[in-house]
């Protein structure tokens, strides 16, 4: 999708917080990304290596915590993890479903040196 724009946002946020903490170097960046967001880790890594050059985040390692998409049926309370295609409730076939997790899309923390 729009991995370049996303990677730029990650860099902005990481640099902002690193400067605030008076870091000399950022070594690791921890991202939490739900399965429902169509983001490809490999392309983020690809852009990251290019755009982080000559910044405080250069060579920082990206870590992806992929949160599974968890759904709950509102009719029978059955909970299930979405693996592939979207389906109705696997227990009672109801379409009255709520998403419990999988939407996550944030920068959780950074590891810095100072």
């Amino acid at each position: 999708m729009h991995e370049l724009a996303v990677t730029e946002s990650v860099l902005d946020i990481a640099c902002k917080h690193a400067q605030k903490a008076q870091a000399t170097k950022v070594t690791d960046i921890y991202l939490v990304i739900g399965r429902l967001s169509s983001i490809v880790d490999d392309s983020i890594e690809f852009y990251w290596n290019i755009i982080s050059k000559d910044t405080i985040c250069e060579e920082a390692q990206l870590h992806f915590n992929r949160v599974p998409a968890k759904l709950v049926c509102q009719e029978c309370a059955h909970e299930y993890i979405l693996e592939g295609d979207l389906t109705a409730c696997q227990n009672c076939q109801s379409v009255n479903i709520r998403v419990l997790s999988g939407d996550e899309f944030h920068l959780e923390s950074i590891e810095i040196q100072r």
Partner: protein, 219 residues
């Protein structure tokens, strides 16, 4: 030298969301209702905007349109101008979606004091626009019959953030294998109770119902 872990927990698109909120405040201050219109290429976004302008023009409403395209073309904005309304063309330079910054710039070029409604025609794409808030009051998707009845299952994210769904090109239903029940079941899982309007921009069928919904928002 010390090594420290710093907790941040910031939404990755926070900066965009923040600016989107600014856009929304600005539009509300001008008493403008605004729509982010998303869809696949060719689903009828421009046709739908033109049909909406035609329906509203009799009541002297003023409508500003922001046209997003990935290339420097003015085909769509020329059509809006020809219908008598101001339009701003945004060339995203290949980017697959509009973002709040682009919309802010476009708003600077519209006569906001004179407008009642702003419609943003997003870039034709079912994936990326879903993630980028623009600051409009209403997120609307046009799904058109020829695209097929499986789109909610293949592009779930875009359906989840919707306020209204337009099902366009219903004049083609007799010619196309489109299972409306299957389609609606997918929509229901993703967005329970979503308001939807089946329309044909070609024949005008269903446009009245949409028009009534919109007019209630404008008054």
């Amino acid at each position: 030298m010390t090594q420290n872990r710093i907790k941040i927990v910031e939404n990755i698109l926070n900066a965009n969301d923040h600016l989107a909120n600014e856009n929304r405040r600005r539009l509300s201050q001008h008493d403008i209702f605004s729509i982010n219109l998303m869809a696949s290429p060719g689903s009828g976004k421009t046709s739908f905007i033109l049909a909406t302008i035609k329906a509203l023009i009799a009541d002297a409403y003023q409508i500003g349109v922001i046209e997003g395209d990935t290339a420097p073309v003015t085909i769509d904005s020329d059509k809006i101008n020809a219908a008598g309304m101001p339009a701003v063309q945004i060339n995203t330079g290949g980017e697959c979606h509009l973002d709040a910054v682009m919309v802010e710039n476009a708003l600077n070029q519209l006569p906001l004091d004179a407008l009642d409604l702003v419609i943003v025609e997003n870039v034709g794409n079912l994936i990326c626009p879903a993630a980028w808030q623009l600051g409009t009051h209403s997120n609307i998707l046009i799904a058109s019959v020829p695209e097929g009845d499986d789109k909610p299952y293949k592009y779930p994210n875009i359906y989840r953030g919707l306020d209204v769904l337009i099902i366009n090109k219903i004049d083609l239903l007799p010619y196309i294998d489109f299972d409306m029940d299957y389609f609606r079941r997918g929509v229901e899982i993703l967005n329970p109770g979503l308001r939807s309007f089946p329309v044909s921009c070609t024949t005008g069928e269903g446009i009245d119902d949409w028009f009534h919904w919109l007019k209630a928002k404008l008054s």
